[in-house]
Structure formats: structure tokens, C-alpha cells
Subunit: 337 residues, 2 copies
DNA sequence: TTGAAAGCGCTAACAA
DNA sequence: TTGTTAGCGCTTTCAA
């Protein structure tokens, strides 16, 4: 059976209260008593009963994270990386991490309501913000602490971290234009995702600034999977006037584009330039290595988790709205190096 | 403020106990009373306080999962997929999922002790079993419920699910031999992982059965990353007598091998055959599509989670030791189709 | 410096 | 069929 404060109290011959105080690090315990209690606790292998603490303190020391998965074979490396960041940061603060996996939709919303309503977590992490994001509306409405990765189009004030996708895509596009490309295609993300618009805007802005036409036939959409990148890439490459460069809204789709190009016997980097977004580890070791807009995914995971914990502890976070600069990482898939 | 049983009791004019019983679905509550209670609960938006329930019932309805991450940029798609399986199955049983992310080592062991000791979870999921696996020794010692993905070399009885890696690699190797390959290299997994040995044994068994020599220079090891696959692939391909086929212990390394081969101007599937293991979604859409030994990762996640929940609920699981058959999925990277 | 007592929200044994 | 009581393990007043 597990050791409780009661057991220690009985053994040392003091009250439960005193044991609690000694173990809690309060200074109104005589030094001798404290020593005896600490030693007994150590010898008996005492561990606080987190659940009991939570009930009493009305704080769970747990953050919740509902991963928006897309079907069973969902496996975007992006999520593992951000989860690692979140998990490691939580551990540093001795917070636990409660995870749910739900596809966007009714069940997902239910998961949010469950986590909030059951008071199992002190706060939530929301990633991949969406247009008119119901998760955010709900959490703001409930006054429940949360931090998002991504901005929102709602007129609501909430803490978030985001990467300037407009700037990232502008830079990527400009880079291709500087290399002489005139027909640059873009595979966008599902339009319900906030970042889809920012990135698309950056692509268009760069074209317009350089006096290049924004052509509808060169803009398409995929669901962020390698499969969709492959399919849309194939489609673009079989156009009557195919593009000489393709940018994808994320790396996974860019890798799909590379497959599509290679299947057609094109040498990526020479016959076709390809650029992605995210800089997942896979990007560096693809063939050819993928030029991409880097966002520090692991660090972002740590950051949103840290901000949330500060919020929970009522330490005002240093910054409520963090905007990070993306960085174009030039590798071989874009040619010109 | 959150609604409690007390609030409902006061409003309906009955005792807390009666409310608890009505909501708990017991049948010793008068139908009229029950209806009034249910309605009040609905109207007031009652949600049970999970933490309080846990403390009282001595059951958390939570399973723990400590993900063995390898560094910050850790992003094996394999883990997202198994996590999705675990998470979805847990949700079906109304169990929560507590996740930690720790690199194998002292901190990881601490995480196990913390989860067990703090009584935050009713059971644990252990994946990627290792030789003399300390996690398993500890959990068996503690008598703590857990289910593993992978066997162990310890003389201990515990429930697990595994895929017959020996058979999988035997089949893959035999397939290459049947295609006429004589020099087949193998990039193995870190030897502390249990599956490394099973798979290696399958490779050797197939060679020996066919009277082919097991050559040390054709057997090497990588840490399961694409980067290591790339590096070891490059090394193998620059041998004086390079292999005509390379099998990797997982898909990520196989993808690295493909990159290495393509960099050298080799056409994978024609000049070099490559086979992986896992069948991550990425494998299907690589260029060329990767021949690989399929294991149903998502289903395994669901299965170990289901078994654990049965164990926790004291329903004896149908099977304590499940061995799944792998299936060779032939695509273009191995040629011959 | 210490202890008694109350109570977080819930369940369950027992009594009525 | 319902209510009273006790208590899960802990923290935190308040009083001594």
C-alpha cells in the first residue's frame, strides 16, 4: 500500500498537519522535527497523492492538449515535434500533460468541453487555429486559461504565439523570382486554417510587388499530406504551361511534389524548384534536400506551454502576443546554390 | 462557479446521496425523483468533478504513456500514429491519456516512478521494449498494470502485443533473393532494442537458408533516423563491392538510403533495391514508393490500450500475448514489379 | 512551534 | 426509496 502523510505522522509521532508543513517546505516547523519527518518520508518512500492535492488545492498542475488528428493513419511529424516541446516544458515545471486525439469536428469540441468541464486540467493548448475558431470562442467564453499557436480572425483577446507566414512566403517567392522564375505555383492549405491565408497573402504580395500576374491555375489546395502534395504536384506539372517552381504550404506536401516531379523524370532543383514550409527534420535529408521556410516547432511547443503555465500560476506572461520571424532555409530543391 | 451535486440537491430538495445515485444510474431511486434530478442536472450544466471521483473511487480512469523521444527534433511519424491509436481507443472507453515525453535514461525512469507513485494513472503503456528493460522490471516489481508493445528478454510474465519481426525480415530478404540479389545489406536498429534482434535474426535466417554468406561488412546499425539511413546507406554504397539491395530496420532509415542512392545517381528499384519496415504513410508516397514490411501501427496502439483498460477493469483480456503477422508490401523501391 | 478541525466533491455502507 | 455518516489524502485556517 502507498505511504500517506498519516503513516509518516504516526511513525514520527507528530500530527498530519506538521508532516504536511515540513514536506511543503514551510518554515514554521522546528528544525529537528523537520529533519525527522524528511528522513522518515525518504525511508518510507513517500510520494504525495497528486489527486488528493489537486482536489484540495483546486489546481491540477496539468495542461491539456487536444491534437487535431486527421484520420487513423495520421502521422505528420510536425505534431510529434511540437508535442515533444510541450511535454518537455511541462516536465520542467512539474506539470503533467493530458492529451486527447480527435479529428476536428463535433467530437473534438466535446473533448474541449469535457476537459474544461471535468476540471481535469488547469489550462489548454490550442494549435493550428482556424477561421472563426469555435475552440477559441468557447474557451474565451468560459474564461478558461489557454494559449494558442496561431492568430485568429475573431475579435477576441487571447494569448498566442505565431510565425509570420506572410513574410515567410513572401521571402520564399521573392527568392524564386530572383532566380528568374516567372511561373511559380502555390499549393495552399485548407482555407479554414488561419495560416493558409497568411501564407497565401505572402505569395501574392511577392508576385504583385514584382509585377507578376497572380494566376488562378497556378494556385491550388491540398490537405497538408504528402499524398495531396503528390496529387496536386502531378496536376500542376501536366498543365499546358507547367510552372517552373512550386511552393507548398507545408513540407509534407512539398515532399509529395518532389515525388511527383521525379516520377516524371524531372530533376528537382534543376528542372523544377520546390520550396516547403515548416522545416521538419525530414526536409533536411530528403533528396534533394528541401528548401523551406523554417519555423522553430519544438521551441514554439515549449513557448506556448511556458506561457500557459505562467498564466495558470497568475504570473503575467512577459508577452501575450508573440510573433516570430520565419527564416528561409536554402537547400538544393530550389536550385540556384 | 462549477455546479456540484450539492447545488443540484439543494435545488431539487433531496440529499446529495440521492443525486449521486440518480446520476450514477442506480435503480434504487424513484422514477419521479430521478427525472427531476436528471433534468436539473441538465439545466444546470452539471459535470462530475473527475478529480473528486478519482479520489473517492481510487481509480483515475487514466492511462499513462511515456513517449521515448530522441532529442528535441524528434519527429518519427511512427509515434504520432501509435499515439492516435492509443488516444482514440482511450476516448472510446472514456479514459484519459496522460503523456510524458522523455529520452530513454534516468529521467525517463523517474517519469515512470512519478506516474506510478503519484497514483495519477491506473496503468501504463510501454512501447519499443528494450533488452533487460528496466521499465518492465520496475512495473512488474511494483505490480502495476501495464501492457507493452514488444517482447522482452526478461524472465517475466506480462501482457504484450508484438509483430513477428523475424518472419517479416525473413520474407523481405527471401523476396530479394528470389529476385536474384546476392549482396543484400542490412541496416539494423540499436542493439538495445528488442526488435533489433528479431529482425536481424530474420535477415540472417533467410540468407543461411539460401546458402548465402552472412557478411559483417554488409551489416551495420543506425539510430532509426532518416539521417542515419542516409549516412549508412552512403557508406554501404561506397564499399568496394557495394550491395545490390539494402534493407533497413525501419522506414525512416530506408528513406535515407533512397536519398543516398539518388544522390549517387542510382535509380532506386533498378540499380538498387531498398526495403523498409513499418509502412508509415510516408512510405507509400515516396519516390519511388517504398517496399516495406507492414505493421498495423494504429491498430496496435488501439489494441494495447484496449488490453490495458481491460486489465484495469479486471476484465481478463482475451489474450495476454498477442503476436501479429507482418506483411510484405511490395512497391517500386525493390524493383521486380 | 504544533495540533485540531474543516472541507475540497464525491461515493458507498448502513440505517431508517 | 431516501438520508446520515464516514472518509478518500491532502491543505489550510484558527487556536493553543
Amino acid at each position: 500500500m502507498a505511504v500517506t502523510l498519516k503513516d509518516i505522522a504516526r511513525r514520527v509521532g507528530v500530527s498530519i498537519t506538521t508532516v504536511s508543513r515540513a514536506l511543503g517546505g514551510y518554515d514554521d516547523v522546528a528544525e529537528g522535527t523537520r529533519q525527522r519527518i524528511l528522513q522518515a518520508a525518504r525511508e518510507m518512500g513517500y510520494r504525495p497523492h497528486t489527486i488528493a492535492q489537486s482536489l484540495r488545492r483546486q489546481r491540477t498542475n496539468t495542461v491539456g492538449f487536444i491534437i487535431p488528428t486527421a484520420g487513423p493513419r495520421f502521422s505528420d511529424p510536425y505534431f510529434t515535434e511540437i508535442l515533444t516541446g510541450i511535454g518537455n516544458e511541462a516536465a520542467e515545471h512539474e506539470f503533467d500533460l493530458l492529451v486527447s486525439t480527435r479529428a476536428p469536428g463535433a467530437q473534438e469540441q466535446e473533448a474541449y468541453e469535457r476537459m474544461v468541464g471535468s476540471r481535469r486540467v488547469d489550462g489548454l493548448l490550442v494549435i493550428r487555429t482556424r477561421c472563426r475558431d469555435e475552440r477559441i470562442t468557447y474557451l474565451v467564453e468560459q474564461g478558461f486559461p489557454f494559449v494558442a499557436f496561431g492568430r485568429s480572425d475573431l475579435d477576441l483577446d487571447f494569448p498566442y504565439v505565431d510565425v509570420d507566414g506572410t513574410k515567410g512566403l513572401d521571402e520564399a517567392t521573392q527568392y524564386l523570382i530572383d532566380l528568374g522564375h516567372q511561373r511559380i505555383a502555390y499549393i495552399s492549405a485548407p482555407p479554414n486554417l488561419m495560416f493558409a491565408h497568411y501564407r497565401l497573402a505572402g505569395y501574392k504580395r511577392a508576385l504583385e510587388r514584382n509585377g507578376l500576374p497572380v494566376q488562378e491555375e497556378l494556385i491550388t489546395t491540398g490537405r497538408l499530406t504528402q499524398e495531396d502534395g503528390y496529387r496536386e504536384g502531378s496536376r500542376l506539372l501536366t498543365l499546358e504551361h507547367p510552372p517552373t517552381a512550386i511552393i507548398a504550404a507545408n513540407d509534407l506536401m512539398a515532399l509529395g511534389v518532389i515525388s511527383a516531379a521525379q516520377e516524371r523524370g524531372l530533376a528537382v532543383g534543376r528542372d523544377l524548384a520546390v520550396i516547403g514550409f515548416d522545416d521538419i527534420p525530414l526536409a533536411e535529408h530528403s533528396h534533394p534536400p528541401l528548401t523551406t521556410v523554417h519555423q522553430p516547432i519544438y521551441e514554439i511547443g515549449k513557448m506556448i506551454c511556458r506561457m500557459l503555465i505562467q498564466l495558470i500560476k497568475n504570473e503575467e506572461p512577459v508577452q501575450r502576443r508573440v510573433m516570430l520571424e520565419p527564416a528561409l532555409v536554402i537547400r538544393e530543391s530550389s536550385g540556384g546554390c
